[in-house]
């Protein structure tokens, strides 16, 4: 399972970076979304994927022994997903406004702020 997830994460990072380097601002949004999903999945996988072992201490024991599904990374991802949702919603609106104002979706035409007038 970890191996499969590792490949999925790598694929997501590669696809995200590829999309970020395209010239269209719509692909920019997709790239950013893919990157943040890749990071979320990475955090999830690093919490060690365990099946059917909830982090509950049995009645006859004092501490947890053996592998268990760590809830902390999942809580982290939940937070990160919520933050990512807000940020991406903002980015989509920003990109739409930029498209309406500048009149192009090509990042190469948005260099005015980088040039010396």
């Amino acid at each position: 399972m970890e191996i499969l997830l590792a490949f999925v994460i790598g694929g997501l990072y590669a696809a995200g970076l590829y999309m970020l380097m395209r010239r269209s601002i719509v692909k920019l949004i997709i790239g950013l979304a893919l990157l943040s999903q890749a990071a979320n999945l990475l955090v999830f996988t690093l919490g060690r994927v365990v099946r059917g072992r909830p982090p509950l201490i049995p009645a006859d024991a004092d501490i947890l022994i053996g592998p268990f599904a760590d809830p902390v990374p999942q809580a982290l991802i939940l937070t990160a997903i919520v933050i990512g949702f807000g940020v991406h919603a903002f980015t989509i609106v920003l990109v739409k406004r930029a498209y309406q104002t500048v009149g192009t979706d090509d990042l190469d035409d948005m260099r005015n702020t980088d040039l010396n007038p």
């Binding site: 950013l32 943040s36 990071a39 955090v43 902390v72 940020v87």
Partner: protein, 501 residues
């Protein structure tokens, strides 16, 4: 809410009071933002709240520093969950000083906004977002939990995104896209690094992390993690070669917003770098901190050379932020108490001076309606007061004695000589000469040279709301220069606390 204080043996009442000082710098901006949002459409109230909230933040910062100075490091376990399981708020001298600076810059910019922000931006929630930005900044300064740091970074970022593009001018949107994209990439990298860190150590509490990373026997993995954090925070701090979002965007929003960003945002990145590379990643100093030192030198040089090539006041100042970040990172790279103390002193000096320079550039914009050097001129003849006001932070930035920048650079250069890092010392001194050159370029072009037009533009008066914060910050620059001795002692103590001495 309940809270406990660890490590202090004082009565419950004063313990509660100390926890209060730790939470107030986050709570005051939050409540101010809520009050401002509730009073949607009531501009006079929102404007008053902008000033009141930042005065409150400044006061809370001073009280926090006072209690840290007297009783040592303060911690607060949020929700009474014991460390390392819950979220810890943590304040040492460095973070308390940063909170004060956030309050100070917040106050200066809030007063300045009263006289310079247009009605439309104010109507669409400028002051609410402004408070939320301050909340994010103070939260990042006060957290003792690495994932919580990520959350505060995001709070700060989303507020800064809105401030950056509020108003929706073409340049703002173009600059905003670059700013948003590169900062979101940094956040994704930061999140991944936190995830890996938790995966290998099993904790998120910074004190606990320092302890566990110190005992880890996988040097390759720790170094890789350290470099991930270096890149993630490096983008936010705008170090070489990760700074490109800064000069593309900082000159586009209104001057008050630029000034707020220039004073606080990149410094939060530097703060995070200093936190992480003094407490967590000090296993392979020979590799990581040498790399930081090299980056520092390149950051200084590229920043100042970029500034020399610019002809617009705010773009020159933006490139100088980058070059100055190099000095702060240089102190971190040497990792001795004197070097770190110098870096902390430099941050204090830089935040005050840089914000002031941006605010004064706004005065120039108010008087002449342009930031282009070729269209400016004759300001000294028409407005000698504004001109002298510009000279104080400009000369301080270049490091002329007896202003604050001189002592900040002196401490760093001495630390460099003591540790035998002569190359970086040479770079620092050369860059400060180029800084002087480029400040003199603004002085010559905007203030000294005769006005280009045959009949000079009509004289306008500068509103008090623009005079007050700029004159106040200039006075503070002089005071920092005059009180350099005690402040350096303070910075050294803060540095020793950071290094755990």
């Amino acid at each position: 809410m309940t809270w406990t204080i660890c490590g202090t043996r004082t009565s419950i009442r004063s313990a509660a009071a100390m926890g209060l000082w730790l939470i107030l710098p986050i709570l005051i901006p939050f409540l101010s933002a809520v009050a401002t949002l509730l009073a949607w459409g009531q501009r006079p109230f929102q404007r008053a709240m902008g000033v009141l909230g930042t005065v409150g933040l400044l006061g809370a910062g001073v009280m926090l520093l006072d209690s840290v100075w007297r009783d040592g490091i303060q911690t607060l376990q949020v929700g009474n969950w014991p460390a390392p399981f819950g979220i810890t708020l943590y304040a040492d001298l460095f973070s308390a000083a940063m909170v004060i600076l956030a309050g100070l810059i917040g106050l200066a910019v809030a007063v300045y906004s009263l006289g310079s922000m247009d009605a439309d931006r104010e109507r669409f929630g400028y002051y609410a977002i402004f408070h939320i930005l301050l909340m994010g900044v103070c939260g990042a300064f006060l957290t003792g939990d690495i994932f919580n740091l990520y959350v505060w970074f995001e709070v700060m970022l989303i507020a800064s995104f809105v401030l950056m593009v509020l108003g929706g001018e073409r340049a703002q949107l173009e600059g905003g896209i670059k700013y948003v994209t590169l900062n979101l990439m940094a956040s994704a990298l930061f999140l991944a690094a936190v995830g890996i860190l938790y995966g290998v150590t099993g904790t998120l509490n910074m004190a606990d992390l320092a302890h566990r990373l110190g005992r880890m026997s996988a040097p390759g993995l720790t170094t890789a993690l350290a470099l991930m954090f270096l890149v993630a925070f490096g983008i936010k701090a705008a170090v070489f070669p990760l700074f490109f979002w800064l000069p593309a965007s900082y000159h586009t929003p209104p001057v008050a917003v630029s000034a707020l960003f220039s004073g606080l945002l990149t410094k939060v990145g530097v703060y995070a770098l200093i936190r992480v590379f003094t407490r967590l990643f000090v296993q392979d100093v020979g590799y990581t901190h040498t790399l930081i030192l090299v980056i520092a030198g390149l950051t200084m040089i590229t920043g100042v050379l970029g500034a020399v090539a610019q002809t617009e006041v705010r773009r020159i100042l933006s490139f100088h932020i980058i070059s100055q970040i190099g000095y702060m990172v240089m102190g971190l790279g040497m990792l001795t108490p004197l070097a770190l103390g110098g870096a902390i002193f430099y941050i204090i000096h830089h935040i005050i001076v840089k914000t002031n320079l941006f605010l004064i550039s706004g005065m120039v914009l108010h008087l002449r309606g342009t930031h282009q050097l070729k269209n400016l001129g004759g300001l000294y003849r028409a407005y000698p007061g504004v001109s002298f006001l510009f000279l104080i932070p400009a000369l301080s930035l270049a490091g002329l004695p007896p202003l604050s920048g001189f002592f900040a650079k002196l401490a760093l250069v001495r630390a460099g000589l003591e540790t035998g890092q002569f190359a970086i010392v040479a770079v620092a001194l050369g860059v400060s000469l180029l800084t002087l050159f480029s400040m003199m370029k603004i002085w010559n072009e905007a203030f000294w040279k005769p006005s280009g037009e045959d009949d000079p533009p009509p004289t306008r008066s500068v509103p008090t709301a623009l005079w007050l914060p700029t004159a106040g910050l200039a006075l503070l620059t002089i005071l920092v220069g005059l009180a350099a001795g005690p402040l350096l002692v303070f910075s050294m103590r803060a540095a020793e606390q950071l290094l755990g001495m």
